[in-house]
Symmetry: C2
Subunit: 350 residues, 2 copies
């Protein structure tokens, strides 16, 4: 009736070294071994030495799976993002991972590809894996399946750049898109532009904030906020298509704000193919830095932010939430700032 070991195919597998092997080897109780390895108080030096030596010999190290099952704590957190390959996102992940692993947590990373349904599935999967907390950068803010999954579990939650309904208990890490884009819009209006174009993503917080920022910039100058808005995927293709559409229209915008760095490549392609000179024939601002942006000819005006810091902040929030679930949920708003460059100039007067 012994448990049948899963087909140990006479491969090397170092003979499943468990706590009881160590206990037997050291001639002590199984509990003592546990105490030594979990650093519990009340273990004699002598015991510690014996156990450690025995463990050394048999090559033991604790099975975190069993620990997690018993302790009801996995020391792991799940991170669901919509696009790992986006440098912005990977920088956020980088920041979060650094903080988490320093705190002894492992990161379960999963990609939803921007599909709300996948977001929801991944969240449930991570819950089944009993992660201690969750960081989310979901595609949309109101997917019912996602909200249901989140609501059903009391797992600590940090959401990045998205705003979920109040019914979901979560902490938030926002970028202050309003300020950065506002600065950009004001700059463009001061230069004399009157018809701006703004490309944003789906109806998520950053998109709303950016539109609000441009609107308010117009209003500040007592101008009617009349500008073009395009909402779509923040991809190069979409950037190219939208620019093409706008530039072919009867009254094309004289300045465009791109709400995502992936749009830039596409937009520049269209601009190039039309032989327009940036900063003269058309002004351009991109949100989020692109490696060659400032070396480009002409250098591209950019709304910057510290994405690594966003990840760090999210991780810290999550660690707080895990250790003090009682504490009021909190919100961090991290700065963005506008760096004007030559891609923005006065519009051609005709």
């Amino acid at each position: 009736m012994a448990l049948q070991r899963p087909q140990t195919k006479e491969k090397k597998i170092p003979d499943q070294t468990g706590i009881r092997q160590v206990a037997k080897r050291a001639g002590v109780g199984i509990g003592s071994v546990s105490r030594v390895f979990s650093g519990a108080a009340g273990v004699s030096d002598q015991m510690r030495a014996r156990v450690l030596r025995a463990a050394e010999i048999v090559g033991y190290s604790p099975n975190m799976l069993a620990q997690a099952l018993r302790r009801q704590k996995t020391q792991s957190v799940g991170f669901v993002v919509s696009d790992i390959a986006n440098p912005l996102v990977s920088s956020i992940i980088h920041g979060a991972e650094a903080v988490l692993s320093a705190a002894g947590y492992s990161l379960l990373l999963t990609n939803s590809g921007g599909e709300p349904a996948v977001d929801a599935r991944r969240i449930r999967l991570l819950q089944q894996r009993r992660v201690d907390g969750l960081i989310l950068l979901p595609a949309v803010e109101d997917d019912p399946a996602m909200l249901a999954a989140l609501g059903a579990s009391g797992i600590p939650l940090v959401v990045i750049d998205r705003s979920l309904p109040d019914s979901i208990e979560a902490r938030y890490v926002y970028s202050d898109h309003y300020t950065g884009v506002g600065q950009a819009a004001r700059h463009l209006l001061e230069l004399g532009h009157r018809s701006l174009g703004v490309i944003v993503g789906l109806d998520v917080r950053p998109s709303r904030e950016r539109i609000r920022a441009v609107t308010d910039a117009y209003r500040e100058r007592k101008m009617k906020p009349k500008f073009l808005v395009d909402a779509g995927p923040l991809s190069a293709e979409h950037g190219a298509a939208t620019m093409k559409r706008w530039l072919s229209a009867p009254n094309p915008p004289t300045a465009v704000i791109l709400g995502g760095n992936q749009l830039l490549v596409g937009a520049l392609e269209t601009i190039r193919s039309r032989n327009l000179r940036l900063g003269r024939d058309l002004s351009l601002v991109v949100c989020d830095d692109v490696p060659l942006g400032r070396l480009f000819d002409p250098p591209i005006s950019t709304v910057m932010r510290d994405t690594d810091l966003m990840g760090q902040t999210a991780a810290r929030f999550l660690l707080d939430a895990i250790s003090q679930p009682e504490q009021a949920a909190s919100i961090a708003v991290l700065p963005t700032w506008y760096v004007p460059r030559v891609s923005c100039g006065a519009p051609v007067t005709r």
Copy 2:
């Protein structure tokens, strides 16, 4: 003597829904519930329905931790990289994650920051988490601690763009850096360049292959392979510093191959500050695509590769290794190709 529940702070926590609650609710045996949820054969439709309904009511979903402990299989793999934030790396991760999650595996991602010692520690941590396999993109190829950790466990292993000693049983996913860089070097030599400069990273496979490729390109033309080599961090700062050094030397190279895309920003800065015109005063090739590379003025010659595919391939190799540990270890060599652009031109004759 009941297990003391970890301080259920009268928060919501949905009352730890376990398999036996479902069994009781459905009035069936605990084993039947297990069978239903693990999709085992030999369960009557009636039983399945009863169990599923009961599970629905109490809101049950299997605890993967317990499953993993019992099955000796976590359905998770570890991925250790040196820099998540590098777009190249995150693209590899993207590819791997897609394949793994489609196969029902979760990804434990961890960053070593390029520190060999951290690589080794992370590997050990993942082993304690009992991952079913490991994908590695380590900083160096010969760190003793890393090799020891790897050797001590029989965990299936896939290594990307690094070549470990034969003593480690692993599968490999390589990029064919030799071909791409070879094409670039030949192009430059054909253009008339005689003194190339090559910037590579540490002594790892890609660096060696790139140097070998340039060497062979010289030899093909019966020329003595006399070119500058710089080995260092593949960072923008290092790119700038090396270019500065080379361009200040008595006989500066007339063409430079950058062995990593992060070098490009730095190199271009130096070039710009010296008022050199790419393709005329200096020719430049970068390994690995940079978003604005082809739109740059002038467009930058690039050695391309499909990093997403590398990740996919690594994941597939790992899944193979997990399901058939016996099978001979294998190697994949994925193509790289050179895309000549205006940044390469004939050297100025003087």
